[in-house]
């Protein structure tokens, strides 16, 4: 049997690998195009998504700037503009466009952006929570029971309609909870960015860095857990 695992790759390398142009072998100085022969260059696998857009590695980013940069790079890489070029250039254009689209999708969404940054900074796959967060334990177990009861019930019965209204209340509460976590995250994001902006190399700043990473990771995985429960709930009572 096959088994597949998500490839996290070695995205930690920051710099774009400066090497030679694949076409004219001259030293590469330009960003994505060779200065000498103007051929498009494959985006280095080691280039992180922030650098790809020329953005600092921060959790708060101006999405208008991101979009403008995405459009600009799309115009540079999209296969539509390589129809008359060589096979090699078409292949590079396709690979670069696919990478660019993934990068944009990841950075556009604040949660995905944070998960990606955690991955870059701490280098681990995101935690996948299988048990409820401690402070929600009782609540969630009870909800699961209600959900199961509702699934087994005759949807037209009075019991079912009582269960349904209970689930609606639970849903509102969980959605509220999810929003709270998102607010907490935003605060952490702000603190993270401020810490980066200060750029200190003290023990204290290192400790804060690690604490922030740990907190963000924990809330992110709790949020994903709650979000999945809410999705499940919405689907069931729909």
């Amino acid at each position: 049997m096959d088994e597949h695992t998500h490839n996290t790759g070695d995205r930690r390398e920051l710099r774009m690998a400066r090497s030679m142009c694949w076409h004219c072998q001259s030293e590469m100085a330009g960003e994505y195009f060779c200065d000498r022969c103007v051929k498009v260059q494959p985006v280095s696998k080691d280039l992180d998504y922030f650098s790809c857009f020329g953005l600092p590695r921060r959790l708060g980013i101006d999405t208008n700037v991101l979009e403008a940069k995405f459009y600009e790079l799309s115009r540079a890489f999209h296969p539509d503009f390589y129809q008359n070029k060589s096979d090699a250039e078409q292949t590079i254009s396709l690979g670069n466009s696919a990478m660019l689209n993934t990068a944009y999708r990841t950075l556009r969404d604040p949660i995905q952006r944070a998960e990606y940054l955690l991955d870059l900074e701490a280098g681990a796959v995101k935690d996948i929570r299988t048990t409820p967060p401690a402070d929600l334990f009782e609540e969630i177990l009870e909800l699961q029971d209600t959900l199961n009861e509702f699934r087994a019930s005759d949807r037209t019965s009075d019991d079912a309609s009582a269960l349904r209204s209970k689930l609606h209340v639970d849903r509102t509460a969980l959605e509220q909870r999810q929003r709270e976590m998102e607010t907490q995250l935003l605060q952490l994001f702000g603190r993270w960015d401020a810490l980066q902006d200060r750029g200190e190399a003290t023990d204290q700043s290192r400790a804060e860095r690690n604490r922030l990473l740990k907190d963000m990771r924990s809330i992110l995985s709790n949020r994903t857990y709650v979000k999945n429960i809410v999705n499940d709930l919405v689907e069931t009572i729909a």
Binding site: D2, D80, S97
Partner: protein, 610 residues
């Protein structure tokens, strides 16, 4: 750069358009309209396409194919429920539907290729040049198999399909170019057989699709069908006639139903009349628009669900939509317009002809590809999630629906058993949790070096290109070697089958002059090579050695030219060879004459030719 045309290969009608300076135009034949009915008929004089073929719908229904687009990339099981409505015979071979026309069976891409060829000829006659490249549109909600089938159709028709683009996004290109539309728009595209909704953001020449949804089996055909049902029932009740079993009558009713539907887009009431077979009188009834609306209401409602889903996926509400654009002939129905207007709470636009706008957009995209238009760029999405089957028959999603294309995902595979040499991968497309509920796209076997379990690391890249078509690559991470993967499509033609169909189409296409010339030249060259070689074997002793080597050189030159694409070069080398072999031919003729004359009377030689 050779010219690239844009083609709308529709369920009911097809069109070809080109870019005239900076304005896209539909090409119409002389004294004719731009639309070519997507109908192919087998007549005593061979296969015919378009308007003349449409006349055969009632004359020889079992030999006249319409709405073939519904069968593209499908298996027989997929379309089982509609089979009773089609008068022609469908079978299946290797997961691909075959349509029987006389003695032969054709796959849907072959039938579509005939329509494409008609459009190609039309464009060639109009533009006065040979056309070999095209952009072809497909419904946005077409899956991989259906897109691939469309590409195959292009190849069979002798067209290099440079891009498959989505119909609603093509329409948005035409609007963007001609109406300078900006902002967030919804394109509601209800055609003859398919429905699409696409939500786009138009900004500074970038056409970014935010979400798309649809139903590839919902369109004007279905409205005709419910009306046909009604008429059939009434005829049965009033006249005691069951016309459902008579293909020609069914077609006559269907066509009248379609005409009545079209009339009711303008009028509030119309009369449906049908001559009953064998002089059994005439059926006639009044039909009001309200009655038609009632019949079609459920079908029109079915388009609204996908609209809401697309909005949700785009993270938008109806109030966020700046403009609603209507595309496809079926949006002429007042009921459709009402429902769309109610959903989005704004008056929908149809400034450009809804029948032509998709072809016009395809021409714009063709111009972008040829480098003519440089300020516009379409960023489209994949309509369905792509994934693989994992343990327990669950689908694991790799590329989510509404991801901007090109899109890629990498997945690492390893083994569970020591010495295992292969991993079977099943690729799926769809939104359901279980593999079996999704569309099977293809299967392939990943080759793995025999090593202890868990040691091999094979990275598989799934890449959806700008056509929305999947490409799969594999790389052994230990050795860094790439592995070619032969993907067997679940519901499509294999490469070899497409090859063969291309050859077949050359054989049968009397119109494809240049291709035919090449094939004929190759056949003739082959025959000449065979006879010359035989002559050399039999008679090389009759001529000087220099003659023989001259002939061999000419033979080699012809053999090389025969592999090339130029029939004139082949004919040229054939003439060279005939020239070089002249002495040998004459010598052999003399020799055989001499041999023949021996022991014969003079009268036998000079006598009559009997």
């Amino acid at each position: 750069m050779t010219r690239i045309v844009g083609i709308d290969l529709g369920t009911t009608n097809s069109l070809v358009a080109y870019m005239d300076q900076d304005t896209p135009r539909v090409i119409s034949a002389r004294h004719d309209r731009g639309m070519v009915p997507s109908v192919v008929a087998l007549t005593d004089n061979g296969l015919i396409v378009g308007d003349p073929a449409k006349e055969h719908l009632t004359r020889s229904p079992e030999r006249t194919v319409y709405s073939v687009k519904r069968f593209m990339g499908k298996s027989l099981a997929d379309v089982q429920s509609e089979l009773p409505y089609f008068p022609y015979t469908l079978t299946e071979k290797g997961g691909v539907i075959r349509i029987k026309l006389g003695e032969k069976s054709y796959s849907p891409p072959q039938i579509s290729a005939m329509i494409l060829k008609e459009l190609k000829l039309r464009a060639e006659a109009f533009l006065g040049e040979s056309i070999s490249k095209a952009v072809i549109t497909v419904p946005a909600y077409f899956n991989d198999s259906q897109r691939q089938a469309t590409k195959d159709a292009g190849m069979i028709a002798g067209l290099e399909v440079l891009r498959i683009i989505n119909e609603p996004t093509a329409a948005s290109l035409a609007y963007g170019l001609q109406k300078k539309t900006q902002g967030t728009i919804a394109v509601y595209d209800l055609g003859g057989g398919t429905f699409d909704i696409s939500i786009l953001k138009l900004k500074n020449g970038i056409f970014e699709v935010l979400a798309t949804n649809g139903d590839t089996h919902l369109g004007g055909d279905d409205f005709d069908q419910v009306l046909t049902e009604l008429l059939l029932n009434e005829i049965r009740r009033q006249h005691g006639l069951d016309l459902a079993t008579q293909p020609d009558q069914m077609q006559a009713i269907r066509l009248e139903a379609e005409r009545a539907k079209i009339r009711l887009s303008e009028a509030l009431q119309t009369t449906v009349t049908l001559d009953l077979p064998n002089g059994q009188g005439r059926f006639s009834r009044e039909l009001t628009r309200d009655q038609l609306n009632e019949l079609c209401m459920a079908l029109v409602e079915r388009t609204l669900g996908p609209c809401r889903l697309a909005l949700k996926d785009a993270g938008l509400t109806p109030t966020d939509i700046d403009e609603v654009v209507l595309v496809g002939g079926s949006t002429r129905m007042p009921l459709v317009r009402q429902r769309v207007q109610a959903l989005f709470d704004k008056q929908p636009h149809c400034d450009l002809n809804p029948d032509e706008v998709v072809a016009l957009g395809a021409a714009v995209q063709a111009d972008i590809l040829s480098g003519g238009t440089t300020d516009m760029l379409l960023l489209d999405v994949t309509p369905l999630s792509l994934g693989i089957e994992t343990m327990g028959g669950v689908m694991s999603s790799l590329i989510r629906r509404n991801t901007t294309i090109p899109a890629s995902a990498k997945e690492m595979f390893t083994t569970y058993v020591d010495g295992q040499t292969g991993v079977d991968i099943h690729i799926l497309q769809g939104e359901r949790e279980l593999a079996q509920d999704n569309r099977s796209l293809a299967r392939f076997r990943l080759k793995v070096p025999p090593l202890p379990a868990g040691v091999p690391r094979i990275e598989v890249t799934f890449l959806i290109d700008a056509n929305g078509i999947l490409n799969v690559m594999a790389k052994d991470m230990r050795t860094g070697e790439s592995q070619s993967i032969e993907v067997k499509p679940s519901y499509g033609l294999s490469d070899q089958e497409v090859e063969r169909m291309i050859e077949d189409s050359f054989k049968f296409a009397a119109d494809d002059v240049s291709a035919r010339k090449l094939i004929e030249a190759r056949l003739d060259a082959g025959a000449l090579i065979t006879t010359t070689e035989k002559s050399l074997a039999d008679g090389s002793h009759l001529v000087a050695p220099a003659e023989v080597s001259g002939i061999r050189a000419a033979l080699a030159a012809l053999a090389a030219a025969k592999e090339g694409p130029d029939p004139r070069a082949i004919r040229g080398r054939m003439a060279d060879l005939e020239q070089a072999a002249k002495t040998l031919t004459v010598a052999m003729l003399d020799d055989s004459l001499k041999q023949g004359l021996q022991g014969k009377k003079i009268s036998d030689v000079t006598g009559s030719a009997e």
